[in-house]
């Protein structure tokens, strides 16, 4: 169940990375919700050079109580196989631990796995 709680310190920005595993290809969209789980705001990610992962920098003044939702579509290039992605939240200036989470699903090319992750900030 890829829903994790994370304690945020004072460090900014929060760096959020999603990595596509099982030698597959993926793409993700990331949204930050308010404390009521409403008013999602899209966070634009950058694709790293090798294409294996995407990095999102969350530049917000106060993340307390907010929810970060990420959705990834992942497909293997060789089929059928397992689509797998791993997310990592790094908090460079804070005291909380890095949060690692992953999800996977057997899938087929053209019908990718729809993997969802969420981080609830305390």
């Amino acid at each position: 169940m890829p829903l994790a709680e994370i304690t945020i310190g004072k460090g900014r920005p929060i760096t959020f990375t999603i990595t596509y595993l099982n030698a597959g290809v993926g793409a993700a969209a990331c949204y930050l919700y308010n404390s009521q789980g409403l008013s999602p705001k899209e966070i634009v990610g950058t694709v790293t050079n090798n294409g294996d992962s995407q990095v999102f920098d969350v530049q917000e003044a106060d993340l307390t109580g907010r929810l970060l939702f990420i959705r990834a579509l992942v497909t293997p290039l060789k089929v059928p196989d397992v689509g797998r992605a791993q997310t990592l939240v790094k908090e460079p200036g804070g005291s909380g631990k890095n949060q690692l989470n992953d999800a996977e699903l057997v899938t087929d090319m053209g019908k990718p796995a729809d993997l969802r992750f969420a981080y609830q900030f305390k």
Partner: protein, 352 residues
């Protein structure tokens, strides 16, 4: 005691394979050299075409499937399983696409599949085949294609942004994962383009497979258990395009009970394109029987293939056999047939 030994032997075989198996893959589209080695050597060795093949993708599924194959009296007949558990463990699970491209070991393990099959024999005995297939080289593996990767990634990026944020993110996250309900057309288009491009490219392919077959003891004790046969395949090809290629194959099999060995190397040169092609084939069979007598034969054949429709081909084949394999003699043959994806209809046949 026999039952216990049979169950133990199956268990040992399964366990001994597990550390070896870290990979898997389906053959590439039009993968000539790779396809010459059977996808499921265990099924081929038993000469069975199981209607139901179990394909576990997790350790849990695998354990369940295997336990269902072993009954109170030992292994059950008519069981077929094929698995490629590289992604079950850390070796594959944490491999990204660029790591796969850079690391031969990851590629090697990812191209290994294991198949297991059982079938019934006389006196309630069960024959068990364990197949191992490794693709050593496959330049046509789609994972090599950066064009395909970029195309698919762009298609997925567009699709995921179209989905937008969920109304209830907590619920969506708790669900964790789901398969997309419909095919993403843009991804399917990427695949089509890749296959078309692949037919114009060149490269090497090589694969090997091995499948021993053993038999449990008869329930009445009249026939002892033991090895029944050993089978091995190999193929290497070089394609100037995927429709113009040179191919070398070999198959060896040993019938343990008859103490008979058969070795069959063959070569094929295929020239043409996806609509028509001309192939020259030369094969040699060498058989050594229990009395150490050798017999051999050479088969030469020419094949012309013309596409009539998307999946319908007209095949015209002429060939001859020379040697001591069949008493009686050398012979020639010609045939014309309509060939479909998985079957063919003979239209004309002549043998002398």
């Amino acid at each position: 005691m026999t039952i216990r030994r049979s169950k133990l032997r199956v268990a040992i075989l399964l366990v001994s394979f597990i550390p070896l198996v870290v990979g898997a893959e389906e053959p590439s589209a039009d993968a000539a050299g790779v396809l010459e080695v059977p996808n499921s050597p265990a099924f081929e060795a038993l000469n069975v075409s199981p209607t139901k093949v179990l394909r576990p993708t997790t350790v849990k599924e695998f354990a369940f499937d295997v336990s269902s194959a072993i009954g109170a009296n030992g292994p059950k007949p008519a069981f077929a399983i094929e698995f490629a558990p590289i992604w079950w463990w850390f070796v594959g699970k944490n491999t990204t696409l660029s790591q796969w491209r850079q690391n031969y070991s990851a590629r090697f393990w990812s191209r290994m599949t294991i198949s297991l099959a059982t079938t019934s024999r006389d006196h309630n005995a069960v024959a068990i085949a364990e197949g191992l297939r490794i693709v050593l080289v496959d330049d046509f593996d789609p994972r090599w294609s950066t064009e395909l990767e970029t195309c698919v990634r762009n298609a997925l990026q567009e699709a995921v942004r179209k989905l937008g944020p969920p109304a209830d993110p907590r619920k969506a996250a708790t669900e964790g994962a789901a398969t997309m309900p419909a095919t993403i057309d843009a991804v399917a288009e990427c695949t089509k383009k890749h296959v078309a491009d692949q037919r114009k490219s060149e490269g090497w392919q090589a694969a090997i497979a091995f499948a021993p077959v053993e038999r449990t003891s008869a329930s009445d004790g009249s026939v002892p258990g033991g090895w029944e046969s050993f089978n091995a395949w190999s193929a290497i090809s070089y394609g100037w395009t995927q429709r113009t290629l040179a191919l070398l194959t070999a198959r060896w099999s040993r019938d343990v009970n008859a103490n008979k060995n058969t070795f069959t190397p063959a070569a094929r040169l295929k020239l043409g394109d996806e609509n028509q092609s001309f192939s020259l084939e030369a094969g040699w069979s060498l058989i050594r029987d229990a009395g150490c007598n050798l017999s051999n034969g050479v088969e030469l054949a020419a094949l012309y293939e013309q596409r009539l429709a998307a999946t319908v081909f007209l095949d015209v084949k002429a060939g001859g056999t020379i040697g001591t394999l069949s008493p009686g003699a050398d012979r020639i043959s010609t045939s014309i047939a309509l060939k479909f994806d998985t079957s063919s209809i003979p239209l004309f046949s002549y043998k002398k």
